[in-house]
């Protein structure tokens, strides 16, 4: 079951690349992909987003239970954050842990399975048309307080907050994993009767066009100004 993927990302307008707090990871050989969006109000959100996606894609296809990979991500975050001495306000935030939304996708010979907490999304396109949207199905459902994965909470908490879905697949299907700003744009365009894939695809050649494409949509008010992360998976 060969897949090939490409990853694209653009920081918030007005922010430097080192302030980007999303993360993406892809392992084509294992058919595992993940994106995460570190919450702006947490401290050490980027290392948390990175720990999540790395831990998820590192496992073989069959292993997807939260308890199998989340503790490893939490340990990696704690290692990245290290220990004090730190000012009292940073210490308080470390004790509280970092927060992030997450979407993971596993593609195998039988089809696909997706897992999410919050509003990072997985989309399936078939012949250029949106075939499924997960876990958010309507553009109006992107709230200001999505569910979040915490770097200190027990995996049972993630299990309770998570959505999961299986799906079938035909050769040639294409999958997108996107953090919320781009995911909301996809659903808005779909709901407006415009084909989001047709509009997006020309921007996915090389490095330059995607950033310009995002800038143009932010400037037009069609996409909120936020970190944007996209993995495109062709099957």
């Amino acid at each position: 079951m060969p897949t090939r993927s490409a990853t694209f990302w653009v920081p918030k307008r007005g922010h430097a690349p080192e302030e980007y707090e999303d993360a993406a990871a892809a392992v084509d050989g294992a058919g595992r992909y993940a994106v995460a969006d570190g919450a702006a109000e947490s401290a050490f959100a980027r290392p948390w987003a990175e720990a999540l996606v790395r831990a998820f894609v590192a496992l073989p296809p069959a292993r997807t239970a939260w308890g199998e990979w989340l503790p490893g991500a939490q340990t990696a975050w704690a290692d990245a954050v290290g220990t004090g001495p730190r000012p009292w306000y940073v210490e308080e935030k470390v004790e509280e842990g970092a927060f992030a939304t997450f979407a993971g996708l596993v593609i195998d010979d039988d089809g696909w399975r997706a897992f999410a907490v919050g509003d990072a999304c997985v989309f399936q396109f078939r012949a250029g048309a949106l075939a499924s949207a997960f876990p958010v199905e309507h553009a109006a459902d992107f709230g200001t307080v999505p569910k979040l994965l915490n770097s200190r909470a027990a995996p049972a908490r993630a299990e309770a907050d998570a959505d999961a879905t299986p799906g079938d697949r035909l050769p040639g299907d294409c999958f997108l994993l996107a953090t919320d700003a781009l995911a909301q744009w996809v659903l808005r365009r779909h709901e407006a009767g415009a084909g989001p894939w047709v509009e997006l695809e020309p921007a996915l050649t090389g490095d330059g066009p995607f950033a310009e494409w995002v800038s143009a949509r932010r400037a037009a008010g069609a996409m909120k100004n936020d970190d944007v992360t996209l993995i495109v998976v062709h099957t």
Partner: protein, 279 residues
Amino acid sequence: MPYSAEINRAQPTSFVFLVDQSGSMGDPIGGTGRRKSEAVADAINRLLHALVRRSTKGDGVRDYFHIGVIGYGAKVGPALGGKLTPEQLVPISAVADNVLRVEERTKKVDDGMGGVASMTAKMQVWFEPVADGSTPMCAALEQARQRVAAFAARYPHAHPPIVLNITDGEADDPEAAVEAAAGAVRAVATTDGNVLLFNLHVSCSNWNPVSYPDSDAALPDKYARLLYRTSSVLTPRAVTLAGAKGYRVSAASRGFVFNGDAVTVSEFLDIGTQVPPPR
């Protein structure tokens, strides 16, 4: 749409707290046996703590907010302690790094087994309760005006500053003077809207508070009506939070509470400082 400017380090917003420190603030507040001045100081310290937390990232505190606390009573002026007594607003990172003292507070919590346990919590203190003198509200409003005008000149496209005035009695000044001084505060503007002025009247009585009214019909006297008139209409964001906290509000609700008790003070500060999430 006004009050929607993005808040970031290059374009922060500002909160200015005007705190009545007149002698009568030493009387107990409705709903508890504590002094009004203590209940207000606790609420302000808790809010400053929340603003610091909101602005803290792994590399330190980001200056999304510029803060002013002005006391008025026996004297009128900056009221944050320690090194934080400048004439202008202070960035939230400077607030974070200049805690006056840390207090240990004991609170009762559910022990999960049907009983009550005591828990010690640390509380950062920046602002101390004071109750002395009269109520020179106009002088405080003028100091607020100078600070927010300087802020608006420096950040002309920012979310406009919000001024929150907490008082327990009639001003020393004539009604027309208070109205003019408050009007001058609200007249300061950025391209994102006029400065907002919200008023909280705290009471030592246990009368029911009148919260976020959209007319002055239920207000008992001309002093209450004066504070109502000088209060800005709440932003839609603030109306949403007030509604979520159980207040009956409308799109025309003013940022005004009369006869507030201890709980109302904290909620007034939360509701009054609702702004778009900083980025």
